[in-house]
Subunit: 238 residues, 2 copies
């Protein structure tokens, strides 16, 4: 016997990464799924699925994320539980997560998909400034995820979730600039992140353009984000 009969529980995820554009700049991008059935057939929606009896919401988010992109996120956190009565023709409560993917992971996976010819047909990546109209209340949900990302980038290390293991300060600054949508002073940016103490300088340098830039790693002793007393069971970082 169920106590809240007639209410289904779904899990969806706003999956964000940085895409390198043709002109060399970086923009936020996310994958959407083309719906094949009603309601909202033939419209784009966030990846997700029903919560099953045997898995926790965060596991369901990771599972549907893997099914959509073939990848494991570098950051995954609950965003909000949406449950307005009229948000879907049937009564659905959606527990929504937001995730960050590493740029290089996405590139590798895209290349593998192209090579094998087995890329999922109904999944497409969209730049954030070219989003189509979304099914359900998913447009509002994406806005909220971006707001959370922008709020959190100021006081935590979430921006690192977009970058590979080793990166230059210019890479990191570019991620911040793409998230915040404004330019940052390279000199001041350097001092800020250095004094935060989360970065470990390596002996490697990236060459190729002009003066070589030192490569840094994360100090993995420090968590990617402060998630309060909930701990890593509820907010996964890699």
């Amino acid at each position: 016997m169920t106590q809240s009969s007639g209410i289904d529980v779904a899990v969806s995820t706003v999956i964000l990464t940085l895409r390198r554009t043709a002109d060399g700049s970086a923009v936020l991008a996310l994958p959407l799924v083309l719906r094949t059935r009603e309601p909202f057939a033939d419209q784009w929606a966030l990846p997700g699925g029903w919560l099953t009896a045997a898995e926790s919401p965060v596991d369901a988010a990771a599972r549907t994320l893997a099914e959509t992109t073939g990848l494991t996120p570098s950051y995954l956190e609950q965003l909000y539980a949406f449950g307005a009565v009229d948000r879907s023709p049937t009564r659905v409560v959606s527990i929504v997560y937001w995730a960050l993917l590493r740029q290089d992971d996405v590139d590798a996976q895209s290349a593998a998909h192209r090579a094998s010819g087995r890329a999922p047909e109904n999944v497409r990546w969209f730049d954030l400034d070219e989003l189509p109209p979304l099914a359900f209340d998913h447009g509002k949900i994406v806005d909220y995820a971006l707001w959370r990302l922008r709020s959190k980038v100021g006081y935590s290390r979430v921006a690192h979730g977009f970058l590979p293991a080793e990166f230059t300060l210019a890479d990191l600054r570019e991620a911040y600039e793409a998230i915040l949508g404004k330019h940052l002073d390279p000199a001041n940016f350097r001092r800020q992140v250095e004094s935060a103490g989360n970065l470990l300088p390596t002996d490697q340098f990236r060459t190729g353009s002009h003066r070589p830039a030192r490569l840094y790693r994360y100090n993995t002793d420090v968590e990617l984000a402060d998630h309060g007393p909930l701990g890593p069971e509820e907010t996964s970082t890699r």
Copy 2:
């Protein structure tokens, strides 16, 4: 036909207020409900109930809050959706809210209950430092609610949710001190809240002790808290 069969959706709320202790200081307090049936019979738990098909989660939170305390909250916001498989013997996803009640509202309601003799038998208010062991994962949930309150008091006006319409700066500072658990410099506190521009001075003064203190009101043009792009449908303030 349900898609996520066997999963029930519950709504619970961490309801916080400031209690005036015998020695004149202020402490955080919250109401708990003594469970009458299994699981966790005879243990204290957060107020709540099942989400019904016809109401949104925030409405359900406001409803169960009214049933428990007879009151309307001055602040109500979603905290987190808890859904670990093993958090209850049956599969339950709990959408948890946190709410603030005005001190004077609680006092008035308590007096009314005492006068009428109809106070709910199985509801009791506990000071935060004297909480009993809680049912389910509700102890962890209370910890998280406190963490959110303490994080949010720094950059928003949530502390005002504890106070009546007119209050002195000492009242407001006392609320901050109870939330943060430390003393604040009265001079610097005054300058901070004055420069924030959220307070409207009145012509009234509170007399009785020593030098009379000016009474202030909230500037209701400014929302109690910045809740991002979700808007007041999802986060209610009064």
